[in-house]
């Protein structure tokens, strides 16, 4: 069954012409047709469009120009612009918006010969940690349909975990790739800020946003990272650095690797089953020769608070363009400003409005210094502390999420608890550090994610060690209970 194969295996068999690209694409479309009515991972599936991508990929293979991912299906989070294909951000305000251009990462996927199978669900404008804030549908966790896949890239995570695509793209502002990867038992990787162009990613928190891969293996994630990263002149914040290299991916070792376990992430607010899972994994890594030590960085305790000032502040400005004038929803009102008010009132969901309000407040005259400026100062402090820690450690290790997948609706009445779920993942966004989540065990049948964070531009080394960790934890992977 081609849907069970990793991207690497699929690409090899496609290149060898043991499989055809259309055949592989169709198998994934069929699986989506079977499962997605239940899972709700996809917002848009257009088989004709998919087959156009498939034919382009097949032509590459036939011309002998196949690359490492040519012909491999991929799901794309619906906040990444795809020319000619609806890009909604799971918001009413963009319900019928069809971009006229491809995001840089999407263009690179086309060049690599990937095959888009659909656009995936998310929390509206990527604001959330459960994918429950989508204006259109709820996405369910393939491991337990009553539970959330996490968020905001819950659709992409569920799609990959449920084998509806071997690869997916997500975006990560405070953990939106890594947390759903953790809750769905797969690999999610956020590269160093700037390594992946943000051009075409509908902005949420511009100084924090980063696009990254979902996959079922570290190797697949690394190959996808290689395909989408590298300098882009359309993004001024893009690092002047080549794409993430994968040739040395398998030549690393845990022997002597210095792993710092973040003390603050294994306290009493972390589910004991998660703590146990992580500690078991650490034992396995020690057995492989890793040098594991506890490290305390108290300033990461301010991460969530700081994040919930900076991200909404940037969002309040980034989302100002949705005014009904040029694209998207328009609701008539009295005069121009009345039209804008009516459009935004009808177009944005509750969580988005709340964050716009918070961000607007944080940037207001008289509050700017106390909130936004102070938050940036704390952020700089946190980044400095983490950078200092990377003098002593190759990686900083923690759980990805303090809890395994929670029930849908379970935390909607407790927004603070929901926001604390980002506790372990936010520091990487604050400092621009690369970070990855991979499965390290199970708690009552639910996946537990291990979070690895590396120094800025240390993406290659991080992936190399993650590959070793994956090998050291052979029992950590599994298939969700699906047909």
């Amino acid at each position: 069954m081609p849907t069970r194969l990793s991207a690497t295996r699929l690409a090899a068999r496609l290149a060898a012409k043991e499989l055809g690209v259309r055949e592989v694409a169709q198998a994934h479309l069929d699986r989506i047709a079977t499962l997605d009515a239940t899972l709700g991972a996809f917002l848009t599936v257009d088989p004709d469009e998919t087959m156009r991508w498939a034919d382009a990929a097949q032509a590459k293979i036939d011309a002998g120009e196949a690359g490492p991912l040519t012909g491999v299906p991929i799901a794309i989070k619906d906040n990444l612009c795809t020319a000619g294909v609806r890009t909604t951000c799971a918001s009413r305000i963009l319900e019928s918006h069809v971009p006229i251009y491809d995001a840089t990462v999407v263009r690179r996927l086309r060049e690599a010969g990937c095959v888009m199978v659909g656009k995936t669900n998310l929390d509206e404008f990527a604001m959330g940690t459960s994918t429950e804030n989508s204006a259109f549908q709820v996405t369910r966790n393939p491991w337990d349909f009553d539970r959330s896949p996490g968020g905001s890239s819950g659709g992409s995570a569920a799609a990959v975990a449920a084998e509806m695509a071997p690869l997916a793209l997500g975006s990560d502002t405070g953990g939106s790739i890594r947390q759903p990867a953790s809750l769905c038992g797969i690999v999610g990787f956020k590269p160093t800020y700037g390594r992946c162009s943000r051009y075409g990613l509908v902005a949420f928190g511009s100084s924090l946003d980063q696009i990254g891969p979902f996959a079922r293996t570290v190797e697949d994630a690394a190959l996808l990272a290689e395909a989408i990263t590298g300098h882009d002149r359309r993004d001024s914040t893009s690092a002047n650095h080549p794409a993430i290299a994968t040739q040395a991916l398998k030549s690393g070792t845990l022997r002597g690797a210095r792993l710092g376990v973040l003390k603050e992430t294994l306290g009493e607010s972390t589910d004991p089953r998660v703590t146990q899972g992580v500690e078991r994994a650490l034992d396995a890594l020690r057995a492989e020769g890793a040098d594991v030590h506890e490290v305390s960085i108290p300033s990461i305790g301010y991460g969530v608070t700081t994040y919930y000032i900076i991200a909404p502040a940037e969002a309040s400005s980034n989302l100002a363009r949705f005014d009904g004038v040029r694209y998207g929803l328009r609701v008539e009102g009295k005069g121009h400003i009345g039209m804008m008010e009516a459009t935004r009132a009808a177009g944005f969901g509750h969580e988005v409005k709340a964050r716009i309000m918070i961000g607007t407040y944080a940037l207001s005259a008289g509050y700017y210094d106390a909130f936004y400026l102070r938050a940036q100062q704390v952020r700089a402090l946190m980044r400095r502390d983490l950078e200092a820690a990377f003098q002593d450690f190759d990686l900083l290790v923690s759980p990805t999420s303090p809890v395994p997948a929670f029930k849908i609706g379970e935390l909607t009445s407790d927004p603070l608890a929901l926001k604390m779920l980002d506790y372990c993942t936010i520091p990487a966004n604050m400092g621009g550090f690369p970070a990855l989540s991979l499965n390290c065990g199970f708690a009552d049948g639910l996946p537990i994610g291990l979070h690895l964070m590396g120094p800025v531009l240390g993406d290659e080394r991080l992936l190399q060690l993650a590959y070793c960790v994956e090998r050291a934890l052979p029992d950590a992977t599994g298939r969700p209970p699906l047909p």
Partner: protein, 481 residues
């Protein structure tokens, strides 16, 4: 009634003459079909990002240097957040803060009314992007043209408290600033096309008072004249308001060109909260001394410095010098003529006289004109060495302007050279004297002024070619015989 003093602050927006817009590759041009110079970036489509135009940054830095500003060695772009249909992103990329703008704490000198110069302090020179244009459609409703959206815009603001105190100074400031921008080739200075826009704010206070009055801001001024008239009108209006015991309302007023009067546009309520913050999509601009030095090296001699040099070194009047430096090409023409050996004063007279008049009449500019500096100098030499008379030279110049031919060629083909042969002129003099016995009689009776009539007759008979000095001498000699 107390006497009032006016204070005028000047806020000028200049569209930069870059080929492409501030943050995308769309071309910059005037007019055209609406929304034909737009792309996803300047339309603020979801997901798009800005990439700054290096040339625009360089132009603002050069302007800031020319205005003696301090340069911010590290400068960031901010977002100015507000909602309006012509603002694609819901924020304008601009620059905020006292010491963050590319240039701050500069000055511009303007000729003072009583002679000498006056220093006008510049508070900031910063870079931002222009908005689109909201238009009312003939069929009803409104539309937005985004061709202008994202065009690089430089904002130049004068100091507070303002140095400018009269309508004339306001106009002079603007004229000097425009000249500098045109000299630097950063803005075409076309106020009528809106590529240079001026919004003065005006307040008055009783003479001797330390506190500044409530100010009003004027919009829609699209010429130097309207700036001068507008400021003048506001000063008079505010004076009348105060004299009637009323208070000036803080507001933005429009200028009605036809009525030559201002009218209220909107009252300024509480200060708008633009929620400025550093744009996270753009990295800070960082400059070093070497780079600034390389820019400084590209600065041309500025008009005021030129004018001073023309007066002090070349002995021209302030008026003449002012005319010459008003246009960069015009001044360059003058300098090249002087360099070719022309006498400064003579060249200047020709330029500001006949040449300027012909250019004006024909609607040509000096760049498109037919007369080369070398040719003008040649003409002045022909007068100087007596080959032609000054009067003939005027006709020759007219011909040069029309045909582009060299003066020597024209003079030869017309046989227009000056007659300096005493014998030939003597014959004409004898003829004229013989034909006018009554005039001669008047002269003999002591009415010596009638000699002028005879001189005029001789010149006419020679078709103006006779050497005037020689004619005068010979007529006097004939009469005194």
């Amino acid at each position: 009634m107390p006497e009032y003093v006016a204070s005028v602050g000047m806020e000028v927006h200049a569209e930069l003459m870059t080929r492409s817009k501030m943050f995308c590759r769309c071309p910059v041009a005037f007019g055209g079909e609406p929304n034909t110079r737009v792309c996803p970036v300047c339309l603020g489509m979801p997901g798009t990002l800005p990439v700054p135009n290096r040339r625009a940054i360089e132009m603002v830095l050069r302007t800031a240097l020319a205005l003696d500003c301090t340069i911010a060695m590290r400068s960031v772009f901010h977002r100015k957040n507000y909602f309006y249909p012509d603002l694609p992103k819901g924020y304008q990329v601009s620059q905020y803060g006292e010491t963050n703008p590319l240039g701050y704490a500069g000055k511009l000198e303007i000729p003072a009314s009583g002679g000498g110069y006056k220093r006008v302090g510049i508070r900031r020179v910063h870079l931002e992007e222009d908005t689109g244009k909201l238009m009312h459609l003939p069929a009803g409703g409104s539309g937005v043209d985004f061709n202008r959206a994202g065009v690089p815009l430089m904002e130049i603001v004068t100091d507070f408290p303002p140095d400018i105190t009269t309508p004339d100074e306001a106009k002079e400031y603007l004229a000097q600033l425009r000249q500098i921008l045109v000299y630097l080739e950063v803005c075409d200075g076309k106020m009528e096309e809106g590529s240079m826009r001026c919004e003065p704010n005006i307040s008055i206070r009783p003479e001797g008072s330390e506190t500044y009055g409530t100010k009003t801001e004027l919009k829609n001024l699209n010429s130097f004249r309207s700036v001068q008239l507008g400021v003048q009108f506001e000063v008079r209006r505010q004076t009348a308001v105060l004299d009637h015991g009323q208070r000036v309302v803080q507001e933005t007023r429009g200028w009605d060109e036809n009525r030559e009067a201002s009218f209220p546009m909107r009252v300024k309520e509480a200060e708008n909260d633009y929620r400025y913050f550093p744009d996270p999509d753009l990295v800070p601009m960082v400059f070093d001394e070497a780079y600034l030095e390389s820019l400084r090296a590209t600065l041309p001699e500025l008009p005021l410095a030129k004018s001073r040099r023309y007066q002090e070194v070349m002995g021209l009047s302030a008026y003449d010098a002012g005319l010459l430096v008003a246009d960069r090409d015009w001044a360059a023409y003058f300098e090249s003529a002087v360099e070719l050996g022309g006498d400064a004063k003579t060249v200047c007279n020709w330029m500001n006289g006949d040449y300027a008049r012909y250019l004006n009449e024909s609607g040509n500019t000096v760049g498109s004109g037919n007369v080369q500096p070398k040719q003008l100098v040649e003409l002045t030499k022909l007068i100087e060495d007596g080959t032609i008379s000054g009067k003939i030279a005027k006709d020759v110049f007219a011909e040069m302007f029309r045909t582009g031919h060299d003066p020597r060629t024209i003079v030869q083909s017309k046989g227009a050279t000056q007659i300096s042969d005493a014998g030939a002129i003597g014959e004409i003099v004898a003829r004229v004297v013989g034909a006018n016995p009554d005039v001669v009689a008047k002269y003999k009776s002591g009415q010596t002024s009638v000699a002028g009539f005879l001189i005029g007759r001789v010149m006419a008979e020679s078709k103006g070619r006779a050497n005037p000095q020689l004619v005068r001498d010979l007529v006097a000699k004939a009469l005194d015989e």
